[in-house]
Amino acid sequence: MTWLDSLTLASRSLRRRPGRALLTILAVTLGATLLVALASVATSAGSRIVSKLTNGGPVTAIKVSASKADSDQLYTDDLRAAGPKAITDATLNAVRRSPHVATVIPVLASRILAVPPPFGSTATSTSGAQAFGDTMVGVDLSQTHNLPITVLAGRVPHPGLRNEVAITESYLDHSGLSVQSALGSQVEIAEPQAFQGQNGLQFRARWVRANIVGVVSQQVGSGALLVTIEQAQLAQTWAQAGVDGGAAFPLPDSQYTGMIVVASSLDDVHAVRQMITNLGYANTAPEHLVASVLRYLRVVDIVLAGIGAIALGIAGLGVANALVAAVRERRREIGVLKAIGARDRDILRWFLLEAFAVGLVGGVIGTMAGLLIALWVGVSVNTYLTEQGLQSIQFGDVSWPLIGAAILGTSLLAIAAGVVPALQAARVSPQEAVAAA
């Protein structure tokens, strides 16, 4: 018997008892729906929670400061700084060469004076009250995906461009601008330099006017402006060309003010932090917090997977039950088929294909329904969060591996459930053909 013959027999057998086939498919559908909906919501919620903990950056990111680490650094997620310690290209290279390190991104923060529009106020004349002192954070923006940066509106500056800047909510607060009015406007940036003038220590600035291209939430460094590292390096070079401005504006003594180190995996974060601490640098990563949250999420996953597995198990029993009934009904047909020469494996294949068809159809419908339910849950949750004045969470991401696994899983489950009835069918004696007659 060919596969096509077996498939024809299987599909027509299902159509012969449409009510029973429908109920069996419905059982599989419900199981798959529950599993996919739970998995989708749990995965989406889990990744969003972790993402929130890491401020949008990779969960394996470690923030390193140009400071000495104190002795307790490794036992806490927080930064434990104990005096300045310069970060140079040599430091970056040393970290890059270490095991379990995926990426190292230098960070350079510079003190600046920001002047939002309308322009006209100056560093010494801030009567317009728009000018404010803050920090400009420069970083390699081609690696945004590895940085704790969340774009709230617009985009980040193009890497290498010195006339683009992204602002944070701090800038909006200082300037009184809304997101819409800030986007597309310009900001004047005064990069200061201390010098010895006729009246002693004086300050002057290098002025830059930049386009605001985005609004971001960032934890790369503390500052209202996010710029390309090239722009921050120009500001530092300018400042270093002057003299030490004392406590108000000390001369930069570190090539970089920090770095973001991304470990190869979550399991490697601790080892990489240890290596950085051994190099003497203070660092921070939500290592313990993420591990703790992930443990709770894991428990939630296990509970939800258990519920889904029970649902699928019931669906499997439904498939097995339907097939046992089918074997009982078709003993004469099976006997006839064997009497005219069908092998045991021909009969086995017929029933297993029938089980597979039920699993496949139920799996496809159930997976789609599960995704729709996950989407609906997302909309409901977001509506609630918005009503409560909280930031919404994005649910309902289509996970192709989940879809594939769900459809394949339900199909295989149905086949597994059909094995015993199919073996029973295969063992029906060909004498049934004569006995029935």
Binding site: V336, D346, V434
Partner: protein, 244 residues
Amino acid sequence: MRLIGSRLGQARNLAHGHNVARLGSAIRLRGVSHWYRSGRSRVEALHDILLEIPAGGYVALTGPSGAGKSTLLSLIGGLERPQSGTLTVGQHDLRELRVDALAAYRRTTIGFIFQHFGLLDLLSARENIELAASLSASYKRRLQSRDLLEEVGLLDRAEHRPGQLSGGERQRVAIARALVNDPSLILADEPTGNLDADSAMRVLDLLERVHIERGCTLLVVTHNEAVAQRAEQRYRLDAGRLLA
């Protein structure tokens, strides 16, 4: 023990000048006994059967219900193995064949015709025939399903399901299915048992025509004496014993 044999069937074919395609399988039973378990007791279905049916013969087997006719048919058809004695059909010693070999024997050597037709309601007349052909992986024969339907006069009913056919038509489809793998032995279990007189005669005519034209051995189990009378040889079973 009795030895009953004949070459009349073959002789008649030749004498009537029919073009016999090839000779059917000879059936040889020696001391065959068979019994079933019913609870703790043993029910003897066949007792010490000695029978020889020549290749190309046309034999009727009669007897009352429970005489062992269907059991004998099952043994010859390879549906089960005899518990004692020897049973050979052509070159096949059926006691020695394993499960897969028995299935292959049924596929290639036997054409079964059942009282209740044994057609799959799921499939059309044509598909029933093609399914039997595909069991022997004979794609060429599969293409012959329409020829066979034409041969049994049902080409116009090819796409009908068994439920849409009359009893006589269903039995003719069953005959076409039995022929698709070109068997050397046709076993018919009460082939007219569920048919009216006219349909029964048409089916018997068809079976006899097939037997003559194809030269296959034909063994018909029947209650009906009129049907049995048409065979070249007649045997009677009673309480598991073969009578003259």
